[in-house]
Symmetry: C2
Subunit: 194 residues, 2 copies
């Protein structure tokens, strides 16, 4: 941030009176420009039929992580709820029509000022197709998940927690639980997907 | 937003190519200025001893809702986790030292572009004191909660869910559950606190 978005005067980075953090402050109109973390919201769309149990993933057509696989997710917009954001992103990125379930995971990615949320979801039908931000959209059984080609550590962690819950549910009954996790440093995925 | 924060040129509100929502766009440097919901994070600090069970509330010294009671909470900052934000806000607003627990509630307040999170918390001691944004900080037993003088619908809803869970725990055992709720329209609290 270089200029005040209210009056176009150059801003200065300083700690305002009564505050304890540096902020972009305008000396002309006194506006303090706060910067806060962003929410990234998505879903875990599942297709279950007879003995089939598959999760929908999207291959990214955009940077960062072009060509890597992700759960459908994106930045939450103003004037929507977190569940509405998950449904919208799933429609936009995967052309998929879901019935949204409970919140499954909350992941802090403090280094990049983001909080990621993933909702449980059931695909209503198989009429999905890549949106403009996806190269491909496919269903994966657990043993088919491209673990080495996942786009972000929050996707890997959410899928790990999800399949671990599945095991617990098969063995002990009950349902999916809500999980919270901090990504302490971005995991590096070394292998190239091509 | 009136001017580009990167180059000080006036911005226009228009739908960028490949997008479907109006954004503030700079015609000079092509920056798109996205605006996204903010996270408000707080805690439900509990003091439990013998047959005492009390929740800490803060009386707001700032607008909006000056003079009304709230759980300690505030805007999440960059480079912190949601739990760290809850601990920090509890320290800043109530001078209280908490042991943070699980996430208890997520509340969407889509009209004001906010998502509120509240964590379970245990007061480590009774050395709390109002911070500069609080007029008073007090412990309330359930029957003492000033329901008609609460600052925000997300505070009321979180406290209602919290005490309802307490009843369930007393009757059936188990622990607090995670709750998600949408505030469809801001509740009006008609009575004046003074």
């Amino acid at each position: 941030m270089k200029y005040c978005s209210e009056c176009a005067h150059p801003v200065a980075l300083l700690v305002p009176d009564g505050d304890n953090r540096p902020r972009y402050v305008c000396a002309q109109c006194d506006t303090i420009h706060y910067q806060n973390p962003k929410l990234v919201v998505g879903s875990i769309p599942v297709w279950e039929q007879a003995d089939q149990f598959k999760v929908l993933l999207c291959k990214r057509a955009i940077e960062p992580r072009h060509g890597y696989w992700t759960l459908p997710a994106g930045f939450m917009e103003n004037a929507e709820t977190t569940a509405e954001a998950a449904v919208r992103e799933t429609e936009e990125e995967a052309g998929a029509n879901i019935e949204i379930g409970n919140l499954f995971s909350l992941l802090n990615v403090a280094q990049v000022h983001q909080v990621h949320l993933f909702y449980l979801a059931r695909l209503r039908d198989l009429s999905f197709a890549p949106g403009i931000e996806s190269l491909d959209v496919r269903l994966f059984a657990e043993h088919e998940i491209p673990w080495e080609e996942l786009a972000f550590p929050t996707i890997r962690k959410t899928l790990e927690l999800f399949f671990a819950d599945r095991v617990k549910i098969r063995e002990e009954g009950g349902g999916y639980r809500f999980h919270s996790h901090d990504i302490v440093r971005p995991m590096r995925i070394e292998s190239d997907p091509h």
